[in-house]
């Protein structure tokens, strides 16, 4: 079944994540990339969770990935699909799979980025995914 889309609460940017949400407003999904150990991370932050270095650059992700896990919350109105998506760049992120048949989701399905507008007029969009 495909149902109406739930409204997304607007994320609140802070000094740590302003750059990420500005990029989101320009349609870009960024991941943290550590200039010390070379590892990428998500969600983005001011310290590398892998090595502890503070030398982080945000790099744009391709927006392609696959479903790591998913669940449809049937009791919500409207029901919606939460998921972890593993980006082709490596990190796995929490998101929603939108504009899909909620009865046909599966782990391993290829997905691509599609930002969704959020409730506040000036709120940044959030990175959601559709089946690729």
């Amino acid at each position: 079944m495909t149902v109406k889309q739930r409204a997304f609460p607007s994320p609140i940017a802070d000094p740590d994540t302003e750059q990420f949400w500005s990029a989101a407003k320009n349609g870009k999904l960024m991941v943290g990339s550590c200039n010390s150990c070379g590892e990428k991370h998500y969600y983005p932050r001011g310290i590398c969770p892998h090595c502890g270095a503070q030398d982080i650059t945000l790099v744009e992700a391709s927006g392609k990935g696959e479903i790591y896990s998913w669940s449809v919350l049937r009791r919500a109105d409207p029901p919606f699909a939460i998921a972890y998506v593993t980006l082709d760049e490596g990190p796995t992120m929490m998101t929603n799979i939108i504009e899909c048949d909620l009865d046909a989701l599966a782990i391993g399905q290829r997905v691509k980025l599609k930002f969704s507008e959020t409730e506040e007029a000036d709120g940044p969009p959030v990175p959601t995914f559709v089946l690729d």
Binding site: Y43, R45, C48, S71, G90
Partner: protein
């Protein structure tokens, strides 16, 4: 240095209420404390250490210490969700071993039912300053869909089935029928579980724990104090704790922090999983139990589904009797936090005070394990091993 043998559980109490419209939150904490003190044979004035978690109203432990009129030498308000109280037993044993206190009180209480809280199906916001909130809250993470994603992945990687998960609820219901205070006393079948309404794929209504008001308390004492009391001696011989999280995006939902807290506790106790006669395993959902049993080493990773099937967790017939009070799935999940009641039922078993129909024969070694927060994002894991002396 080890806490093995340095502390005893001298008193436990499970508040009988399951819907507390007539009591305040502080009152539930205090009534639980008094119940555990009475059980131990100690009084309020004997308490010199106090432990509580995020369910305590007010600033950390201070409001409740004031309310109950405690005079203390040691305080600990470590908050790791529903696992907090299992972790507190370990912390209390540490404090006692260090001579910081000799009678530690741990309390838990909550009124989610009386307050009409949408416990499992509404997103919880722990405050916008939590660094993960902006990246998760917009997507509607709830308690149930987060655990559901763990189940989904476990099924994908290991072939675990809904029927296997259902056996966990079936076993809990077999135990709950003998507990006069249990919220759900009806014995259920695998078919009834898998045919109950889907809440969040692949978890059905009967894969989820109850929502209950109530509380409980534990008294942990030094060996010197315990040996002056008239209760059976329940010795703390091992404890472990560990957090697990998203690891910077290297998310793996197939295992829990029990892979770390379990071995710490077993090593300290100098015992192994096959030695354990009874296990209290946190059962917010059926999948929680299955993953923790694997991670604690009761079976091989990925084989949890086969391990829990065919009544293997039912007292009297199964190899590993678990949650003989009915657990969170059927009896009680006070304050949406099931760690404290896990310790209580383990102590009942070690004392030989469980219901006769579920009492494990010669139960001299028991484990209690808690998971708090969310298996799907970040959680605390705590394991305690206890021995009847």
């Amino acid at each position: 240095m080890s806490i093995n043998g340095k502390a005893y559980i001298a008193g436990v109490y499970e508040h009988p209420t399951r819907k507390a419209t007539d009591k305040s939150l502080a009152q539930l904490h205090a009534e639980s404390a008094l119940g555990a003190l009475k059980d131990s044979g100690l009084t309020k004035d004997d308490v010199d250490g106090y432990f509580c978690a995020g369910d305590a109203p007010g600033l950390g432990p201070l409001s409740l210490v004031d309310y109950m009129g405690l005079k203390l030498k040691h305080l600990d308000a470590t908050e790791t969700g529903g696992s907090s109280y299992v972790l507190h037993v370990g912390h209390a044993a540490e404090a006692i071993a260090m001579g910081k206190c000799s009678v530690a009180l741990i309390t838990l209480a909550g009124r989610p039912r009386a307050e009409g809280m949408a416990t499992g199906t509404a997103p919880r916001n722990y405050g916008s300053s939590a660094p993960d909130v902006a990246f998760e809250f917009p997507f509607g993470p709830t308690v149930v869909n987060m655990y559901a994603m763990c189940a989904q992945r476990h099924m994908y990687e290991y072939g675990t089935t809904s029927e296997q998960l259902a056996w966990i609820k079936v076993a809990a219901s077999h135990h709950a029928q003998y507990n006069e205070h249990a919220m759900l006393k009806n014995v259920v079948t695998v078919d009834e579980v898998v045919n109950s309404p889907m809440i969040a794929d692949p978890l059905h209504r009967l894969d989820c724990c109850v929502i209950s008001d109530g509380g409980g308390a534990i008294i942990v004492t030094s060996p010197e104090v315990a040996k002056t009391l008239k209760r059976p001696l329940v010795k703390v011989i091992g404890a472990g704790e560990a957090p697990k999280h998203q690891m910077g995006g290297k998310v793996d939902l197939t295992y829990s922090g029990a892979v770390w807290s379990g071995p710490m506790a077993f090593d300290e106790a100098h015992v192994k999983p096959t030695d354990i006669k009874y296990a209290s395993i946190y059962d917010s959902f059926t999948i929680t139990v299955l993953m923790q049993l694997e991670d604690l080493g009761f079976c091989e990773k990925g084989k949890g589904g086969a391990f829990v099937s065919d009544g293997n967790l039912i007292a009297g017939t199964g190899k590993l009797p678990f949650n003989t009070d009915g657990g969170g799935l059927c009896n009680n999940h006070p304050a949406n936090r099931g760690g404290l009641t896990k310790v209580i039922e383990a102590v009942r078993q070690l004392r030989g005070e469980a219901h006769p129909n579920v009492q494990v024969q010669n139960c001299d070694l028991a484990l209690a394990h808690g998971t708090g927060g969310s298996l799907g994002t970040r959680h605390g894991s705590a394991t305690v091993i206890m021995e009847r002396e």
